[in-house]
């Protein structure tokens, strides 16, 4: 039985480097880093710490009367993808069949923290704020606001969440559960994550430097990214523009430690191999890898080792884009998939910001300037706490050829 081909027909994104795919691409080309001092929340221990905070007020732009920061970011990006794919004009009953797969870890945490603080300092607070706490809230919000009632769920797999969500959305279509799925991820800054990553001593307050020999940690980011996934047949029937073909996904588990990857990178190696097998491709077919590349000593070492081993002396163009938007946690997989699709669309591979000298342990050189080059097949990696590893492969859409 052949599984239906799945294509990407729309994208929506909000990050510290832009409120749309166009704005984001412009920042990429101009090497405009999105790190700034955190202003959306008050973390007394970490004043001056940099993060990829979204500029502007998500609450004012989402069109949502009330919700958490994650709800606002998610709805904005979801609606942007929905409109870009030309789905607004569909009838209610067709929209009602559309599915949602969303990656998320913080949920409404930033609002919950405000609630808890008010309660502690003032003795009272509005419990209604707790309505937005659950990780499942943004999906419910998007479902209600856009009228989508097909199969839907949230995936909470740490930093691999939205990569897994995109793979799951593709599975929904391949299995016939849906013809169209809104797939993506969202996470917003919170005191828990700022403090938490600092307590693990893996946060670089001055900005992450993926693959650099003096790298000392990650930088948090926030944002939302969504793609419209569709069966190729459905997309062709309504004459939709195919931005990319979603040709492969691979997922694996480290089983090594709850926060550190195994040093030989065997799990991400496995995920990349599975994605290639799923796509029916070999390593030499890959033109560009968007690495997870958080900038921590351990992640970059193990992922670098895995890339070298898999591509065996013939490593394609590589970069981590976390030097632009930071580590957007659950949104990373979706945000970085969008950056990969933009790279193919514009024929420009995005550079790896933050490198002064590449760590000599790596036998490949991440690019440090945007490189104009035809890109046909690209891969994006996501590696999460708990040992989740996911790799996705996209190919250039027909409309870009």
């Amino acid at each position: 039985m052949t599984l239906p081909n799945v294509v990407v027909t729309g994208m929506g994104i909000v990050t510290s480097i832009g409120w749309s795919p166009e704005e984001v691409q412009e920042s990429i080309l101009n090497k405009r880093c999105g790190f700034r001092g955190i202003s959306c929340l008050d973390s007394p221990l970490f004043k001056g710490t940099l993060a990829g905070e979204v500029l502007g007020d998500p609450a004012a732009k989402s069109g949502l009367a009330e919700g958490s920061r994650s709800d606002h970011l998610a709805l904005y990006a979801a609606r942007q993808a929905f409109v870009a794919a030309g789905l607004e004009g569909l009838t209610e009953d067709v929209k009602a069949e559309i599915g949602i797969a969303l990656g998320i870890t913080t949920g409404g945490l930033s609002t919950t923290e405000v609630y808890l603080d008010q309660l502690l300092t003032e003795g009272d607070s509005d419990i209604a704020q707790m309505r937005f706490h659950e990780c499942s809230t943004p999906v419910a919000t998007i479902s209600r606001e856009l009228g989508l009632f097909g199969i839907q769920t949230s995936v909470s797999n740490a930093c691999a969440s939205s990569a897994n969500a995109l793979a799951l959305g593709r599975e929904f279509i391949q299995s016939g559960e849906a013809e169209v799925v809104l797939a993506g991820g969202v996470d917003s800054l919170s005191r828990l994550t700022v403090n938490g990553f600092n307590s693990l001593l893996v946060y670089d307050p001055d900005g992450c430097r993926p693959f650099d020999e003096n790298r000392s940690g990650m930088t948090l980011g926030e944002g939302a990214g969504f793609v419209i996934l569709e069966s190729e047949a459905h997309a062709n029937a309504r004459d939709a523009r195919t931005l990319a073909h979603f040709v492969g996904a691979g997922s694996s588990f480290d089983g090594f430690h709850i926060t550190s990857p195994s040093p030989d990178g065997s799990a991400i190696h496995d995920a990349m191999s599975k994605a290639l097998a799923d796509a029916g491709r070999v390593p030499s077919d890959i033109d560009y890898i968007n690495a997870h590349g958080t900038g921590t000593l351990d992640n970059d070492a193990s992922e670098g080792e895995a890339i070298q081993r898999l591509f065996d002396g013939d490593v394609p163009v590589v970069s981590s884009t976390k030097g632009y938007c930071g580590h957007t946690l659950a949104a990373a997989g979706a945000v970085e998939s969008i950056l990969c699709i933009l790279a193919m669309e514009h024929g420009v591979a995005p550079p790896n910001l933050g490198i002064e000298n590449v760590d000599p342990a790596f036998r490949f050189d991440p690019i440090r300037e945007p490189i104009e080059t035809g890109l046909n097949t690209v891969m994006t990696n996501s590696i999460g706490f708990g040992g989740n590893n996911c790799s996705l492969i996209f190919e250039n859409g027909d409309s870009n050829q």
Binding site: N157, I258, G386
Partner: protein
């Protein structure tokens, strides 16, 4: 042609601790009092470090007797699907309460403010290296986890899958939550675990085998009900079809 079967189950909830490996001769312990020695004779020193969600999941899974059902080679191609409604809400509260009390962020608690850390602990303990995911919605998380597990094994992506539905809070977390006026029930823990395997690689007969029954209306309310059905089977009563109609998956019991 190979199929997908359920080869083991484990249950830990207010009505007891039981599963394929051991029957409910274990004295029921609330999640706060649960010690590893209550569920297993094998050492596992890290049990005390786990949060409530991981403890409940680990205890239910231990009732399956995984090492008796699969070797290391199959385990390395086994994944985990986890469904949970509240996820790590308890640990989120613990993290915050701890930070306020001690003016420091506890790194281990931070690692547990992710519901997928449960999967990490299970994978480390049982040697699972296949695909995995944690699903969170208002309803039907367990059924989605089971259906996804079935799909992963049936498609050949995995040789086995541990499918779980877990929700658990420590009494202290629930009390702290109530100080934050969240009005949570203090007695919450439930964990249901099922081990799915490719019938070609598994030894012995399954407890139940999955079958597609397109067009047929099946109802499977929850994994708790599935546990109940397996347990009440007795020797002569086969499980008739259990399914989740929207996902078009059903489980057909083996005639014995």
């Amino acid at each position: 042609m190979s199929g997908v079967g359920i080869y083991g189950y484990g249950r830990y909830d207010a009505s007891g601790i039981s599963g394929t490996r051991r029957t409910s001769d274990i004295e029921l312990m609330g999640i706060d009092d649960l010690k590893w020695k209550h569920v297993s004779d094998v050492t596992y020193k890290r049990f005390g470090q786990l949060d409530a969600l991981s403890k409940a999941a680990m205890a239910a899974t231990e009732m399956i007797g995984i090492s008796e059902l699969m070797g290391a080679d199959i385990a390395s191609e086994t994944g985990i699907t986890l469904g949970t409604k509240d996820g790590c809400l308890g640990t989120d509260i613990d993290f915050r309460a701890n930070a306020i009390e001690r003016d420091v962020s506890n790194p281990r608690l931070f690692a547990y403010t992710l519901p997928s850390t449960v999967c990490g602990d299970l994978a480390i303990r049982h040697g699972f290296q296949g695909a995995n995911a944690c699903y969170m919605s208002e309803n039907d998380n367990g059924v989605l986890a089971l259906a996804e597990g079935f799909y992963l094994v049936e498609s050949g992506e995995l040789q086995g899958c541990l499918c779980l539905e877990v929700d658990a809070l420590f009494e202290e977390s629930a009390s702290a939550a109530n100080e934050f006026k969240m009005n949570l029930d203090t007695d919450r823990f439930s964990a249901y675990a099922f081990l799915l395997m490719n019938t070609d690689v598994a030894a012995g007969s399954p407890l139940g085998e999955f079958a597609f029954t397109p067009g047929e209306d099946c109802k499977m309310g929850s994994l708790r009900e599935l546990c109940g059905l397996i347990e009440s089977r007795g020797k002569d009563v086969p499980i008739t079809k259990i399914g989740y109609d929207d996902l078009a998956v059903s489980i057909r019991g083996m005639e014995r």
